[in-house]
Symmetry: C2
């Protein structure tokens, strides 16, 4: 297992090998044993296998090929709908139409997603997270017919690997971990922690391909741009309102 | 590994056995191999081992005993501070002072947290999530000295188990999983899916202890009350503003 966790890599190309119901069931059974706030299980998992549905979902994920090519896609949703219905049928008035409850449900959904990924990887399967899920939540809600109280927070594609890419780099552990209190980074710290990443061949190629001067500019000017972030921030906050999670009067 | 995932339970009581630096390092090394948006690694992990710091953090976690009794506590934070500093030092203007970027960073932090939990459990250690982290983020920020761009989203306590509680119940898989589209629950579905939970001895005891009529009322009237949720929603949105994640003009 340790090996699985340390050697894992994101897999974007999948073989024709079927993901059996039994394999998928194992993955989902593992996922629902993940910790959940107060054992409320305030999340849902939507399984996509249908080719037509994948075609419909593809634009919501910026037409990344994995969506139509992977045998299975799982969309993880913050979900208070089921819990609210139960409360109302049991003479209890739910108070979960607010931002904190969205966060609680999103946490449930996200940690269950990661358990599903590890369960799949331990079987030898590969996964890819789709960060586009929060960007395009509104469209995903329509396509998956998510009712009030349900918001998609992440999705993964899943299948047997048809590629064996090199493992991507990470910053040194000391970049991410702080002891007792946060030790803010000096200019020298930043230079040191990012040095290895910046001198990598793939980083240099990335800069050249995008005609930028620094690797950071590839992120700020090309991949994760301010204007896009602002646009999708507003859209996602609108989604939270529409799905009934912003009733606390800011 | 499958066994670890399926038989796991939350552990709230820890033995005196030390969590060695080597064990902790293994857990953290596994955590940083978790998928991360665009390989930006926009999260940080704060390690708490110091008894004085645990005492200070305890009230933020409603004085749950695990906080002072566990040998290690890990607080997982959405963190764009490090990335922003790198951008600014590299002639790149970051555009991550918005809600979408908070969500992106929170997702990074949460899925890394779950990998850490599984890595720990695979070693035979036990963990407990602290949902109080989002409720009391403001105080945690002060205690852990988190700068602008950093928001705690979850925390776990960690140690060697000194208890072996029964595994808690879960709803049947069919309650959580939907095929292709969301299949909303009829009143009959809710009755059926919650039937086993409601007739459990511990549920009945829970109702009696709290002098309630239904299990759902224990949640709505005692454990996760509307007034508290509203209070902590406002507080957490204030924290997001203060930490620089709400600049997109709603």
């Amino acid at each position: 297992m340790k090996e699985t966790l340390l050697t894992r890599k994101t897999i974007r190309k999948y073989s024709g090998r079927e993901v059996t119901d039994s394999d998928l069931n194992d993955i989902l059974e593992a996922a629902i044993r993940t910790s959940t706030t107060g054992n409320m299980q305030v999340y849902s998992i939507i399984v996509t296998r249908d080719a037509v549905m994948k075609e419909k979902l593809a634009p919501a994920h910026f037409n990344q090929k994995m969506v139509t090519e992977a045998p299975v896609m799982l969309t993880f949703c913050a979900d208070f709908n089921r819990f609210n219905k139960w409360c109302r049928q049991r003479d209890a008035e739910p108070g979960y139409d607010n931002f904190l409850s969205f966060m609680t449900a999103a946490i449930d959904a996200l940690i269950a997603a990661q358990t599903a990924c590890i369960a799949a990887e331990e079987k030898g399967m590969g996964i890819c997270y789709l960060g586009t899920t929060t960007y395009m939540a509104g469209i995903i809600i329509e396509l998956l017919e998510l009712p009030t109280g349900v918001v998609p927070v992440t999705a993964i594609t899943l299948g047997w690997p048809a590629e064996d890419p090199p493992q991507v780099d990470r910053l040194p552990l000391s970049a991410v971990v702080h002891t007792e209190t946060y030790h803010d980074y000096s200019a020298g710290d930043i230079d040191e922690l990012y040095a290895e990443k910046e001198k990598r061949e793939d980083s240099l190629q990335f800069i050249a391909e995008n005609s930028k001067k620094t690797l950071a500019q590839v992120f700020t000017d090309v991949r994760y741009k301010k204007a896009d972030n602002i646009h999708f921030s507003k859209a996602f906050l609108e989604v939270l309102k529409k799905q009934g999670f912003m009733e606390q009067d800011i």
